[in-house]
Amino acid sequence: MRRLACTGLAVLAAIVMVLALPARPASAHPLGNFSVNQAVRLDLYPDRIAVTAIVDLAELPTLQARSAVDTDGDGRVSAAESVAYNTQVCSAMARAVALRVDGHRVQWTVRPAGFGYRPGSAGLRTSQTSCALGAAAHLTSPARLDLVDSYQAGRVGWREITAAGHGVHLLHPPVPARSVSHSLRSYPADLLGSPLDQRSARLRAEPGDGPGGGAAIQLNRGDPVSRWVAAADRKLEGLVGGRLTPLVGVLGVVLALMLGAAHAALPGHGKTVMAAYIAGRSGRPRDAFTVGAIVTLTHTGGVLVLGLLLTATTSLAGEAVLGWLGIASGVLVAAVGAAMLAGVLRRRARVHGHHRPPAHDHDDDHDHGHDHRHGHSHGHSHHHHGHPQPHPSGPPRRLSLAGMGIAGGLVPSPSALIVLLGAIGLGRTAFGVLLVVAYGAGMAATLTAAGLLLVRVRDRWASHPRRALARLAALAPAGTAALVLCVGLGLAGRAALGVLH
């Protein structure tokens, strides 16, 4: 089990590395023609601190600064004038960029590092000024650093701060190590992005050869399956908006079924974990169907309620609701996992401590009125030539089965929600509801199939003639219980981070 976990983690780490490519398209156009843009890069070494500050003036500020650059007014910028202006800007920058190490303000040594023009729009020019600020420091013991950039605070513009340690480790830096704008050379052009406006940063540094990297800004591009699902999502949204013929209707329902199935197969929402749960708790095929049905019902109902709420009020933020539902779902999964674990441990304690015969053990787990069903499990254990082994626990309790189903369906899938909202907007509410039901049914199908598969695998495995493997099968309940608990906590924690952020 542990080796498997290690292998799984290693594979996962490799996937993460591959997926974590720097993304986000960049544009050559500057942010705005009125803007004063700044990039402050902080490099921390054990014995010194270096700041590289770049000021990028857009077309109008460049023109406004013209008389400050061309001091003799001859219409040309001489080398001496350029250096004088560079020095002047950098002195102002050194006054405005305040860094405090453990509360003591650092005194900068200033070195002008360049000034130049670049062609801008409308036949005008933009200008870039670079400054190198430096100071001695003792970052050989843990230190707190507070950086505040108040240079040209009243002007509109892009302001970014980056920080990197070299032989100094930064603990959870709030700013990235690399500039998203490639040091103001290209600004991300994204309709959903606001200009960066980072004016201060609080860092904690400690000695060490850590990676020193900050929060790298990355965009998850997703694996091929996710991309396919996303493409199918768009297809379905398109179908809802297009002309509605019977063929399109059937196609839409089929597509919704497939999408639901695919979404359940994608990791997330702890859906897949439920299959493991059924297997681990020695569930029966019927349990898999029950969970599937509950997931469909919960998901359909959740999407409908949330969809109606979102169309009825504008003040409700869909994000927040999804976040809170995510927390609830995670807590529910964790609770079921904890109950499972407690049950397994209790049973194991009894089995090992008192060698109680399996038949008595079952008393704990009796589902009232269902005792006669134990025959199947008994049959298995008695085949095994009387080998001592803990007896698989009884069928999952109805309560925790329902809990798992509800947790799985509680967080509405955003794509189903969009399909519904789009349909309501077009006055095709009934079609939208039909698609959402199909979506839920698709999800349930995957889940039930996965559950059934695992039940089959477990049954075969448990009856394996080789002793080691059979013993491993016996460990499965504890392992799955722990996994369900961990995943539940993880889901709840992640959703909470999203909500509280």
Binding site: G32, V156, G193, I217, N220, P267, V273, A275, A495
Partner: protein, 438 residues
């Protein structure tokens, strides 16, 4: 064989479970793009456009999760236009256009919000005929959209169709009486010279305002109305109240600069304009600053500001705007009379707004065509706006045509409204009246 299946199965579960924990899922996570978080948070901390920034950040986050929500795309586009207005940064226009067009692409028919947003964008870019067309289309999709009537009213006002503009404002007032409708109705009354009624409506708008930026806007407009009527102290009080509400509302600096100049506090006035044009280098403010510099004996610095105004105008056009009115006024300030006449005529061929008639008349007067000039100067005053600038131009043209009594009447009327109406023109009006022996 069997155990191989099992190992694969377990590995699948593990990877699935762990990746659920680590958030490998594609896109749908609420905090999928942490990239935007620092910027938006810092923006929201700023007082002036805090609410607007919050709204923009929320819409952006929502659209990352729900990219097909055309209503929010339209709202985001409109918020970008508002941001461009507040920050005076035209770079938000292409962004706004992108968001609004995306909304329209998602929902081509029956999407009045996107059409209204595109109309507001066209107004901001001085493409008033396009704005009128878009507003009409939006109203066909939703005849009860107060916002669409607002866009229509703005476009019609600027196109010089005053009766239709008044009607659109009335529709807006009926559908949704509130700050936006009151402010437009107030402006409509101001165009007709009914300054008292305009101020009363603006005070109602102020009563509706909650956001500091809105309060500052209303106070600024009240200050402008007081200034138009020559009540310097009342204007100064309103500007100060606006600044107390929102120190970041920049037009207040222009108002305070005008009052300071009228009171003879030249140094304060120049410092105010210097700060204003550093933070908000719009062609209009740069020209006002240049006027003040020239009136106070700084012709070289005035020339620099006019060069900046020319650059700002070029950038406005490079960002998809059209402003031949501004170009004509700039050419006049620079003494290029013939280009001014041509630019003003181009603008007049597009729209018959009072300001355009006034500028065209004045350009024609400067080129010596006083016979043609006077008809435009009269058109400017046709609604009875009681604008001292219009009256001054009319009086000076009449003086050139030898109509002394008309000239005396209009020049006196201009000075009676506000004897400080312009640092350059008010003294010129006084001198002309002296020559007339009044």
């Amino acid at each position: 064989m069997r155990h191989r299946i099992l190992i694969v199965g377990l590995a699948v579960i593990l990877v699935a479970g762990v990746s659920a924990v680590f958030g490998l899922r594609h896109g749908t996570s609420p905090n999928a793009s942490a990239a935007q978080a620092p910027g938006t948070r810092a923006r929201a901390g700023q007082a002036p456009d805090g609410q607007l920034s919050e709204g923009i950040a929320r819409a952006q986050q929502h659209l990352r999760a729900v990219p097909g929500d055309y209503v929010t795309w339209a709202a985001l586009g409109s918020a970008y236009i508002e941001r461009a207005r507040v920050t005076a940064d035209p770079a938000y226009y292409p962004k706004a256009s992108g968001a609004l067009r995306h909304s329209l692409k998602l929902r081509p028919a029956g999407n009045p919000a996107a059409l209204t947003g595109l109309g507001a964008l066209a107004n901001a870019r001085h493409k008033f005929a396009t704005a009128r067309h878009l507003a009409h289309r939006a109203l066909r999709a939703d005849p009860y959209s107060a916002d669409a009537y607002g866009v229509l009213a703005d476009a019609l006002t600027q196109l010089g169709n005053a009766p239709a503009a008044t009607e659109a404002v009335q529709h807006m007032l009926d559908l949704r009486p509130g700050l936006a409708a009151y402010a437009r109705a107030s402006y409509d009354l101001e165009q007709h010279g009914r300054l008292g009624a305009a101020a009363a409506l603006m005070r109602r708008a102020l009563g509706d305002a909650v956001d500091p930026a809105d309060i500052a806007f209303c106070r600024y407009q009240l200050g402008e109305l007081a200034w138009r009527a020559g009540r310097l102290d009342a204007a100064a009080t309103q500007y100060a109240a606006g600044q107390a509400a929102d120190p970041g509302y920049l037009p207040l600096l222009a108002g305070q600069g005008r009052v300071a100049a009228a009171r003879g506090q030249t140094r304060t006035a120049l410092a105010g304009y210097a700060e204003l044009t550093a933070r908000y280098p719009s062609p209009g403010y740069l020209m006002e600053y240049a006027n003040l510099l020239r009136a106070t004996g700084h012709p070289a610095r005035a020339g620099q500001q006019l060069a900046l105004a020319a650059a700002a105008l070029r950038l406005f056009q490079a960002n998809g705007g059209t402003d031949d009115l501004g170009a004509a006024q700039l050419a006049l300030a620079q003494g290029d009379v013939q280009p001014a006449v041509r630019a003003a005529e181009r603008e007049w061929s597009r729209r018959h707004f009072a300001d355009v008639a006034d500028t065209l008349g004045w350009a024609l007067h400067r080129s010596g065509a006083n016979g043609k000039a006077i008809s435009y100067a009269r058109k400017a005053d046709a609604l009875g706006a009681r604008n001292p600038g219009y009256l001054f131009h009319l009086g000076m043209i009449e003086l050139s045509l030898g109509r002394s009594s008309d000239a005396r009447h209009h020049l006196r009327a201009a000075l009676a409204l506000n004897r400080h109406f312009s640092p350059l023109d008010a003294p010129a009006a006084v001198a002309a009246l002296d020559r007339l022996g009044a």
